[in-house]
């Protein structure tokens, strides 16, 4: 059951081979066994989960079930969940029990899925290693001395270690795809605007996008069916008719033109990652795809542009955490300014403060044009690069991350090295394009020392079904996604 696909679980629930309560208990037990070591979850509430499971069982019995009814799903602690602590990995919200549900949570609740728990993450989604959480670092289930990637490290770890059949996550610069790569799971960041941001605690509004994580492209397609959809409460949500993302999964990919961006195979790419990605490209060719070399000439500017735009938006988005209405407030303070200063000094961690400072600086009078406006210009150039590339190919394929997982603490003291983890994933956020990561092999010694490599697939706007099709065909042919961490 722990290894079963969502389709299999759904079938078992529908056939009454297992109840949602039993399934939920099974995963809660698995979490109980592993979470102390891996720290993937911030909050668990068996009573609440089982209550939902019981309701799902009734629904299954009444014949009113949908594909995910009764299936436990872990939610990143960035999604506001009514009645649940929603901390965003921060001391600032360490007492915030959300009075409302995010749109994504509503969607899962509506279809009868069970909230299995809230997953750990980098504080306010700022990080690439899940080490900046107020609740301590998440560990990589393939080797607990290594990081799981971030910021959605808890969700990736939970799925990889089979503590959850599926999870939600968010991606601002790679926070779904990079941890999916480092933990060996499948993660998809949809086209900007496809999944409502309502109730998803904002990091950088113009880049943030929620998406699913699962064991396979097929599972991810089922999850996306639930998550995607117009929401009038998010002005950036896109109104378009609903799609079934599973509809093209099995279609042949003969003639699929795969663009290989040469800039994503240059300096900084670990040889063992390059080898796994090359092998995957060969596999795609075997499946009938053709390979086209393309160029994204401005992609080298994406990290600097991102580290202007994202902190700028974050500095403003995080202003609401001021100790006045909810969340953490310093226990002792003098006047109002002192209350603000102490609350924010104590409530935010170092990485969050660093980004607030950068963001405040780049928006300041006299610097705005040189930084923020310049970064917006670069952003448009990067988007244009993709338009050019997609005139010659259907999807872009490359490495998700330049390296496999690194050791805990290895890059914590060097923010710039940490930021370079997302060098391949950031351009898709800047352009608003969908991107996904799927497992494509392992680097390092065989056996317990091996660490997963992720393959990055970027598609054109709203081409999620096509990307999932390519990923699914690859997964049917290879089976890397079926590998399960030995440490778990």
């Amino acid at each position: 059951m722990l290894n079963a696909s969502l389709t299999e679980l759904s079938g078992a629930l529908g056939a009454r081979k297992i109840s949602s309560v039993e399934l939920t208990q099974l995963f809660l037990a698995r979490i109980g066994e592993l979470n102390a070591r891996l720290n993937a979850f911030i909050t668990l509430d068996a009573e609440k989960s089982l209550e939902q499971a019981r309701a799902a069982d009734e629904r299954l019995a009444s014949g009113d079930a949908q594909p995910l009814t009764g299936i436990p799903v872990a939610h990143k602690d960035i999604f506001c969940t009514r009645g649940w602590l929603t901390s965003c990995g921060s001391k600032m919200l360490s007492n915030f029990v959300s009075p409302y549900d995010a749109h994504v949570i509503e969607r899962f609740n509506d279809c009868g899925a069970v909230t299995l728990g809230k997953t750990n993450m980098d504080e306010f989604a700022m990080g690439s290693s899940s080490e900046t959480s107020h609740y301590g670092p998440v560990k990589n289930p393939w080797n607990p001395a290594y990081v799981p990637g971030g910021s959605s490290g808890g969700s990736a770890c939970a799925v990889a270690a089979r503590m959850a059949p599926a999870a939600t996550a968010t991606d601002t610069g790679g926070s779904i795809r990079q941890p999916a790569a480092l933990c060996g799971v499948t993660g998809l960041k949809p086209t900007y605007g496809l999944v409502s941001r309502y109730g998803m605690i904002a990091f950088a509004s113009s880049l943030d996008q929620g998406g699913p994580m699962g064991k396979s492209a097929q599972d991810v397609a089922l999850l996306l069916n639930v998550m995607a959809g117009f929401d009038a409460r998010d002005s950036t949500s896109i109104e378009r008719s609903p799609e079934d993302y599973t509809r093209e999964l099995d279609a042949p990919i003969e003639g699929l033109r795969i663009g290989v961006p040469r800039e994503h195979f240059g300096e900084g790419l670990a040889p063992e990652v390059a080898r796994a990605v090359d092998a995957a490209l060969e596999e795609f060719e075997k499946l009938g795809a053709t390979r086209v070399e393309v160029s994204l000439p401005n992609s080298g500017l994406s990290v600097p542009a991102y580290y202007v735009i994202a902190p700028a938006e974050a500095s403003s988005n995080l202003s609401r955490f001021d100790g006045v209405r909810y969340g953490y407030r310093a226990p002792e303070y003098g006047d109002l300014i002192d209350m603000y200063c102490k609350t924010r000094a104590q409530g935010f961690g170092a990485e969050v403060k660093r980004r607030i400072l950068i963001g405040t600086y780049v928006l300041s009078h006299g610097y705005y044009d040189a930084y923020y406006l310049q970064a917006q210009r670069i952003r448009r150039l990067i988007a244009r690069d993709f338009v050019d590339a997609f005139s010659r190919c259907d999807v872009l394929v490359g490495p998700t991350s330049p390296t496999v997982a690194f050791r805990l603490g290895e890059k914590a003291a060097d923010p710039v090295r940490m930021y370079l983890n997302d060098i391949y994933t950031i351009p898709a956020n800047l352009a608003g394009l969908p991107g996904m990561s799927i497992p494509c092999g392992f680097a390092g010694a065989n056996g317990p020392a091996a660490l997963p490599v992720g393959l990055h697939i970027v598609g054109n706007y709203f081409s999620e079904a096509r990307m999932l099709n390519a990923a699914h065909r690859y997964q049917r042919a290879t089976g890397w996604h079926l590998q399960m961490p030995g440490a778990a």
């Binding site: 409460r233 403003s316 202003s319």
Partner: protein, 481 residues
């Protein structure tokens, strides 16, 4: 040295929408603290703003109204921006406003003052949300926060520095106040803060083209305070300059208790608001079709009606200005004069501009709450025209109508106010007056015109005001020969 005062106004008009600028919470005034603040207004983590279409529509209505119905001052694409600063009653830590690209750019307002007619140009008008309220009393050293007002839609209307006196500034503010109510985008309630003025004031030597250093005066929530504050501020600046000092650019607060302005913060302490486009909101796009729908639904504008009143009805600009200061008053006038003769129209216009207007001001109400209906006023005007009563008696009847005593005809009957035009009766009265006032008769015959007026007055008094003044005049002249 002669000085010239230069004034520009920033007016915040609260838009009369049912819900807030970016949330669905209600905007009604006076509810219990924080009962009209939803998750978006409180700025819970994860919430997002959605622009209120009704507020945008009102801003467009305003843009059309200040530009003679021409939409070339409406930006088809405007941008919401974040104005960042920390304050406890600003829940998000930023206010959503419009900065570089406001929805309205340009337009003008026509004003009338004792020195004549003038056009004040508008720089811009932009949409924004209001902050909440900090309550410093009743909380024992703490501050209470009421977020009911947070997110209320405002239209900030910025004028060019085109005004040269407190009188002009007040005339502009009143014209704007009348306009926003006329086109039904703001209730204009100044006590509740629905219409608030900030004044930018500077002075310069008369004849100079350069602008002096300005001070911004905040907290002007009545026309009288606006006038007093500008007068105080101009005098303060002139006094400094005449002593050889320099004006410091600053924000000042008007204190109505002491009738003075005092410094709030100087320029160096001014915030760096770090404006940038709000990534949660797409640019605001106004389609031609929507513009056309709004244009079609606009009522006849005050300027159009003003022109109609002066051109077609031959009224003086001053009278027309009063009649078009309020759409309901203009409607009232038109109802009272429907199908009337030109003479009756002129008489009614003057009556409303002087008498009715004074009574409204005295009671502090608008015409919709006046006890005298348009039909009753019409009857009163007709009784003057047909000679049933004199203008003087009409005032008495008007007072009675304002006290709720009913129609003019019944008041005339009840009080016996019908004008005495019977020559025989009046001759008897005049004879009595001549007999009782030999001194005045002698003076009149000696050529003193004043004495004649006194005799007319005596005769009128003897009729208790009911005598036909023209007839009395005629009889007196004849008898004194």
């Amino acid at each position: 040295m002669a000085w010239e005062t230069v004034i520009g106004l920033e007016v915040h008009a609260q838009l009369s929408t049912a819900s807030k600028m970016f949330s669905s919470a209600a905007t009604a005034f006076g509810a219990g603290p924080n009962t009209q603040a939803c998750a978006v207004d409180i700025a819970l983590p994860g919430v997002l703003p959605v622009a209120n279409r009704a507020a945008v529509e009102r801003a467009i209505r305003f843009g059309l109204a200040v530009n003679a119905n021409n939409a070339d001052n409406i930006n088809r694409r405007s941008v919401f921006a974040r104005k960042n600063y920390f304050y406890p009653d600003l829940p998000k830590g930023y206010q959503i406003s419009q900065f570089e690209l406001p929805i309205v750019q340009g337009g003008s307002i026509r004003i009338f003052t004792s020195t004549g007619e003038k056009t004040v140009r508008l720089t811009r008008a932009h949409l924004e949300e209001d902050a909440g309220k900090s309550l410093h009393e009743d909380f024992h050293g703490m501050t209470g926060i009421d977020l009911n007002r947070a997110g209320t839609p405002l239209l900030e209307i910025v004028s060019e520095p085109d005004m040269r006196s407190a009188e002009e500034a007040v005339a502009y503010a009143k014209a704007l106040h009348a306009l926003v109510r006329w086109i039904d985008i703001c209730d204009g309630n100044m006590q509740e803060g629905s219409f608030r003025c900030d004044a930018n004031v500077s002075v310069r030597p008369a004849g100079s083209d350069a602008l002096g250093t300005r001070c911004e005066i905040k907290n002007l929530n009545s026309f009288r305070f606006l006038e007093r504050a500008i007068e105080f501020e101009a005098a303060r600046q002139i006094a400094i300059l005449e002593e050889g000092g320099a004006i410091v650019q600053e924000t000042r607060l008007y204190d109505p208790e002491r009738d003075e302005t005092r410094s709030m913060r100087v320029k160096e302490e001014a915030h760096d608001y770090r404006y940038f486009p709000d990534p949660d909101l797409l640019p605001l796009v106004v389609s031609e079709q929507w513009l056309e729908e709004i244009r079609r639904a606009l009522p006849e504008l005050p300027a159009q009606r003003f022109r109609r009143f002066t051109d077609q009805l031959a009224q003086t600009p001053a009278t027309a200005a009063v009649l078009t200061s309020d759409r309901n008053l203009a409607d009232y006038f038109e109802r009272a004069t429907d199908g009337a003769s030109p003479e009756l129209v002129r008489q009614t216009a003057n009556w409303i501009a002087v008498s009715t207007n004074a009574k409204l001001n005295e009671r502090g109400i608008d015409i919709t709450r006046a006890p005298v209906s348009a039909r009753q006023l019409r009857a009163l005007m007709e009784r003057i025209a047909d000679g049933t009563i004199s203008g003087k008696i009409a005032k008495e009847i008007d007072d009675a109508m304002w006290n709720g005593e009913g129609d003019p005809d019944s008041i005339i009957e009840k009080r016996g106010l019908r004008q005495i035009s019977d020559v025989g009766e009046l001759e008897k009265i005049v004879d009595g007056v001549i007999a009782a006032n030999p001194k005045q008769v002698e003076d009149y015959r000696a050529g003193k015109q004043k004495a004649f007026h006194s005799l007319v007055g005596q005769a009128m008094k003897a009729t208790r005001g009911k005598g036909n003044p023209a007839a009395i005049n005629e009889i007196l002249k004849r008898k004194l020969g």
